[in-house]
């Protein structure tokens, strides 16, 4: 069954792969993005997937964004909270602003976006919410107290909302990828990416498509009994 899907941060990296995969699986997709208009235009030209611009850390903007999408395309039945940002720094050097920005974009956005789509999902008795968590939210990482706290918080959010959504046919799950070969990683110094690869039993980074594959699994009609779960995919780097 075709379900309208909304992916935040969906014009680049993992989010773009998720949007493409959902579209290929027959789900009409709409993506959100925040800053890079040229990238968003190119993505829409190539895929035909509409891209709407708003800041997911702004609750009012999230409500308005969802309203605009639902007015044009119908109810959002699948929400993928993928938008994320990093602002790495040693704890002693991390500024209030670096903390706030990462927690707001990565975690507050999950609250705002889920809140905007949840009442409709409840009413219709069906919904799928998938968070893109992170291995670093499970295992911790130096220079990332902000990112790790936000991603770990996502996992807590998932489990709590899963409890509430269960009786309404809404599942809430998380995919927790390890290091994935995205534009973010390609900007890192090679000696660091090589270290990451050496630490991974599979000896490579993940591919964006592999994360998308897990999202597809979770949003399926048949995945109704899987809720509050985390699918970890990290090539064996972190097993818990």
């Amino acid at each position: 069954m075709a379900r309208l899907a909304l992916i935040t941060g969906g014009t680049r990296g993992i989010g773009a792969a998720v949007a493409r995969a959902l579209k290929d699986a027959g789900h009409p997709a709409v993506v959100n993005y925040h800053a890079d208009e040229a990238c968003a235009d190119a993505f829409t030209d190539e895929t035909g997937i509409p891209a709407l611009k708003w800041d997911v850390s702004d609750g009012e903007a999230c409500r308005a964004g969802v309203e605009a999408i639902e007015a044009e395309h119908g109810p959002v039945e699948i929400l993928v909270n993928n938008a994320g940002t990093v602002a790495d720094n040693k704890f002693e050097n991390m500024t209030d602003d670096q903390w706030q920005r990462v927690v707001r974009v990565n975690l507050d956005s999950v609250f705002y976006m889920s809140k905007a789509v949840y009442p409709g999902m409840m009413e219709r008795g069906w919904g799928r919410i998938v968070q893109i968590g992170s291995m670093n939210g499970q295992a911790g990482q130096l220079n990332q107290v902000n990112y790790v706290a936000a991603k770990a918080g996502m996992h807590g959010f998932t489990k709590a909302l899963a409890q509430e959504g269960a009786k309404h046919g809404i599942t809430v799950n998380t995919v927790a990828p390890g290091y994935v070969d995205t534009y973010l990683m390609r900007n890192m110094p090679e000696r660091i990416t090589q270290k990451i690869i050496d630490k991974s039993p599979i000896r490579r980074m993940g591919y964006e498509d592999e994360v998308a594959h897990a999202v597809l699994f979770l949003v399926d009609d048949k995945a109704a009994w899987t809720t509050g779960s985390t699918i970890t995919m990290n090539g064996g780097t972190h097993m818990y």
Partner: protein
Amino acid sequence: MSRVALVTGGTRGIGAAISLALKNNGCQVAANYGANDEAAERFHEVTGVAVYKWDVSDFAACEAGVAQIEADLGPIDILVNNAGITRDGTLQKMTPDRWQAVLDTNLGSCFNLCHATFPGMRARKFGRVVNVGSINGQAGQYGQVNYAAAKSGIHGFTKALAQEGARHGITVNAVAPGYVDTDMVRAVPEAVLEKIVASIPVGRLGRAEDIARAVLFLTADDADFITGSTISVNGGHHMY
């Protein structure tokens, strides 16, 4: 690509659903069973899946069983360690026999069958091992020190073998079902079962097919970055 799959305890309950799902997905499936000839024959008649009888707690029998299947169908690419039994009792009343039977069948079988199939998977640089764990191995359960220890052991086994298999194209993962509507769960007294269902957020027991699709997901050729992971499928009953 047509893969040969072995599912232990594959003629009833969750195992039967896994055997069937793999077959419908194009695999050649061998379903092992331990005792119930009648159920195995019926399963074979209905589905056409080849059935093989041996005791998975017996190392030599596992070697012989694998050799027979490989002679009949070809090398085993996918191994699903699903066979399991319960012999519940509080610690005080639990006899060494009950402890040993559950440990040998539920956990020893994983060793026996991985031992028999791993060298071939290594040589061919492809393998998918999925161990069926349990919510009770994650959360513990009154009256099940044997079952919880064995299932918890499966999760440890999974993570260790994942480390060894990673560089050889072999992934090792676990699926941890909650309470699924099978003969094993139907044997639970009704009053107890009612309480269990009441504590499952999704509000129902799982179906064997709910578990089978998680196994399909993990055994796919393109799931090669997922290793050492556990997918919980429990209706939100236990989130960790």
